[in-house]
Amino acid sequence: DIDGVGPKYHLELVLEDIVDEDSTVNCTAEVLYHLGNKNIAPDVQFTIEGELKNADEADNIFYSRIKSLENELVAENIPDSHGHVSPEMEPIRLLAWVASGYVMWQNSTENTKFQFAQIKHVKQVKRSDEYLEFDYMILLHEMVSQEIIPWQMTVLWHPQHGVQVTQDSRQPKHA
């Protein structure tokens, strides 16, 4: 506990590549929660011991495929009720999962545990520059309250420039 600020956690964890489970890398992190103001995301400092696996080839294939689509990509319910994701949609799901990590981080407190549940809807937004833009409506699962929370997020991505969430907003649960 850091007096006056909040609890600090020291973590040692192992990162595992989603696509290649045998590829792992050690990581240490420090997380500081702000007791006083719950609206600030926790501070996170981390060090990765080693290098993350290179995904350039898969990234470029995905990038070219989307760039060359005549019509904007539109999809819903990924995965479907039975857990299936078509191979073409797998990168769309992974992108949503990564981007949702940012949203979760920004909205986490010591008493929340978020998981990515599903893409309800995704629509590509065509851009004149080199970035890909997707407008997602996703569902997050919060463990403690067991709530399913719809969340809208606008995601920018480029193979060399990485992921950015430019806009996000929590949506009301449709009663």
């Binding site: 479907d80 009720s81 039975h82 569902l139 699962h141 463990m143 067991q146 399913i148 009663a175």
Partner: protein, 384 residues
């Protein structure tokens, strides 16, 4: 056709296996060539149906132990080709345990299971859901003149946790398929009766198939039908309404208007209460998270037999991990997960059932509730 898993122990066994493979032209899946068969190494052989008995007899004669890795290769091939679900699938002879089934099919399955295993299985009425659907449990019991202790297992308290009813069905199938040949299972059944409830929250389960895949609660109407559902696992009479709940119907952890306010809860509680002096173990199956949870959720004060509870749970977790390396964390809910009151597991322990556990099955969150069907088999096998 079957695929057998053998780990030869001696050089003689290796030689015999090599001889068997070459003389009967058996299909080696692992390793690829007979000359690569080694003592201490995994061997997987596919044996064509007409030769299965002969091969097994030969293995028995040479004291080579084996396990059936795949009991029906054709079935596996068929299911891997099946993508679309037809609405009229049917009997357990063709019942696909590695796919998720809607409630209608589960009802048919129960009837069929009793019919084809009537010497062991009886289907019993438990009660009605809020939407007036009938809840049944299956009793697996070997006839005997002595009263036996009971192990109760329920699945499907939470609608969206589809892997849970899938596990209950798998469990029943495994027991019925292997009770004659597996010494562990037949010893079990000599001394214990198994009571299995494949789906408690039937209305919720149907709703998750038809309307909202991530629905959790039951479907009881509140506030003049403007809000639906009580969390059945907050509705039991164990420190009801005290912690880890909401009194608001719009919440996923709404505990209901009072303990056992829901017909589903009441039906199960009344039955278990009646039989409690004979019930040795209460198991309730959920997902996800990969935990084996012990009482209590409502307090961190440990239960009276907590050492024994933990010891048994740790053994279960180790056995589970032995199968595919999957890690299940063991501990009391209030310590390793979160606080909650009104859970069925806490209640079962409080009324005197010594062993009470919640299993949270796969995974750790990458698929969460929407676990793909190709994980049904490994999840169920390791949990077995």
């Amino acid at each position: 056709d079957q695929v057998l898993h053998i780990v030869p122990e001696t050089f003689q066994q290796v030689q015999h296996l090599q001889h068997l493979c070459s003389s009967l032209l058996l299909d080696l899946w692992k390793p690829l060539l007979p000359e690569d068969i080694w003592a201490g190494e995994d061997l997987h052989i596919r044996v064509p149906a007409p030769l299965v008995q002969e091969v097994k007899d030969s293995l028995d004669q040479h004291m080579i132990s084996y396990k059936v890795l795949i009991s029906d290769v054709q079935e596996l091939v068929d299911q891997s080709m099946r993508r679309e679900r037809t609405s009229h699938t049917q009997v357990p002879e063709g019942y696909v345990y590695t796919q998720y089934h809607p409630m209608e099919e589960i009802y048919q399955w129960m009837t069929q299971i009793q019919k084809s295993n009537s010497e062991l299985v009886t289907q019993h009425y438990l009660g009605k859901t809020i939407e007036n659907r009938t809840m049944y449990y299956l009793q697996i019991s070997q006839p005997s003149d002595k009263t036996k202790k009971i192990i109760w297992m329920d699945c499907g308290i939470h609608a969206r946790e589809w892997i849970s009813p899938a596990f209950c069905q798998w469990f029943v199938k495994e027991i019925l398929q292997n009770y004659k040949s597996d010494p562990k299972i037949s010893r079990f059944l000599k001394n214990l009766d198994l009571y299995i409830l494949p789906v408690l929250n039937i209305d919720g389960y149907i709703y998750s198939w038809e309307k909202d895949r991530l629905w959790r609660k039951n479907r009881s109407p509140h506030m003049n039908g403007t809000c639906y559902g009580t969390d059945l696992n907050r509705n039991f009479n164990s420190s009801w309404g005290s912690i880890g709940v909401s009194y608001n119907c719009s919440s996923e952890i709404f505990c209901g208007s009072g303990p056992e306010s829901e017909p589903e809860t009441r039906a199960m509680a009344q039955f278990i209460e009646r039989k409690k002096s004979d019930i040795l173990c209460y198991l309730t199956i959920h997902s996800y998270g990969q935990y084996i949870l012990t009482p209590y959720g409502s307090t961190t004060k440990p239960p009276s037999n907590s050492e024994e509870l933990m010891r048994v749970a740790k053994k279960a977790s180790a056995a589970l991990m032995g199968k595919y390396g999957t890690r299940y964390e063991v501990g009391s809910t209030s310590l390793i997960l979160y606080s909650n009151s009104g859970s069925s597991r806490d209640w079962a322990h409080m009324i005197g059932i010594p062993f009470s556990y919640t299993f949270e099955l796969r995974d750790k969150g990458s698929h969460g509730f929407v676990l793909p069907p190709d994980q049904i088999q490994p999840t169920c096998e390791e949990t077995m």
